[in-house]
């Protein structure tokens, strides 16, 4: 179970609406390498891990990804809130407005809905942790693309912070993969 804290893991305070940037960032909300995918992947894989360190790490990082999902949702909301119809048209996100007004929605800015096809839970701990490490690299790369596209320091700062978390997660999953190989090797001698 979870305990909810009514604050963001890292502050998001965007003052200027920017529907184009909102559409780009929405991919980290409900897109292929986004925070929702990350969270569901790790929280699902946790169950079949053979060692407590792996269960614990997947649960902790899966929980943190939900906090990132919340942060990215706040970014998207703040970028859409207050955008005028003219700004929405100029940004070319009329289809977003048609389906959602200015609402945050788990999909990509091009309208592709979230799907569990983005993630895998294979039941093979080595395969799953290797996927998780790749997932962290893809999330890091996505944040770098978003930083390239952003101009507003209020947008860049939380993106920079979220990217750094992916670097840390990669390190932690790598350490867990080492432990899983240790566990696998130790089983050979019984």
């Amino acid at each position: 179970m979870w305990i909810y804290e009514k604050k963001l893991q890292y502050p998001v305070r965007i003052k200027k609406p920017n529907p184009k940037m909102a559409a780009a960032i929405l991919s980290q909300y409900g897109g292929p390498d986004g925070e929702l995918a990350a969270s569901l992947r790790y929280i699902s894989q946790r169950h079949h891990m053979p060692i407590p360190e792996a269960k614990g790490m997947l649960n902790d990082i899966g929980t943190e990804e939900l906090a990132h999902f919340e942060m990215v949702g706040s970014m998207v909301h703040q970028l859409m809130k207050g955008a005028t119809i003219d700004q929405i048209k100029a940004a070319g996100v009329e289809s977003w407005y048609t389906d959602h007004d200015r609402a945050t929605w788990p999909g990509t800015g091009t309208g592709v809905p979230f799907t569990a096809s983005y993630i895998m839970s294979k039941g093979d701990p080595i395969a799953d942790l290797t996927e998780d490490m790749a997932a962290e690299q893809k999330a890091r790369a996505t944040y770098e693309h978003l930083i390239d596209l952003a101009d507003d320091p209020d947008v860049i700062d939380p993106l920079r912070w979220l990217r750094e978390r992916e670097v840390v997660h990669f390190q932690r999953f790598g350490e867990i993969l080492n432990k899983l190989y240790e566990w696998k090797d130790s089983k050979k001698y019984f």
Binding site: Y10, T130, M133, Y143, E144, I147, D148, I156, R160, W161, L162, R163, E164, R165, V167, V168, F170, Q171, F173, G174, E175, L177, N178, Y181
Partner: protein, 64 residues
């Protein structure tokens, strides 16, 4: 000011094989160097950086 505490990440010497050969690693496996605790940021700085550990700060240079 964010990067005051930054230390160089540990890297093999230039021109050396990667990963270093002496570690007796096996084929067809992925490895990440286990982190050993050296130092930590004070809590305020850790929140800003996104990590408690200076050696994990690896900032990105924005492309223009």
């Amino acid at each position: 000011m964010y990067y005051d505490y930054q230390t160089e990440p540990r890297r093999p010497e230039h021109g050396q094989p990667y990963p270093p050969e002496h570690q007796n690693l096996q084929l067809a496996r992925a490895y990440v160097l286990p982190q050993t605790y050296t130092k930590a940021f004070p809590p305020e700085e850790a929140l800003k950086q996104g990590t408690l550990f200076p050696e994990l700060v690896m900032p990105y240079d924005k492309r223009h």
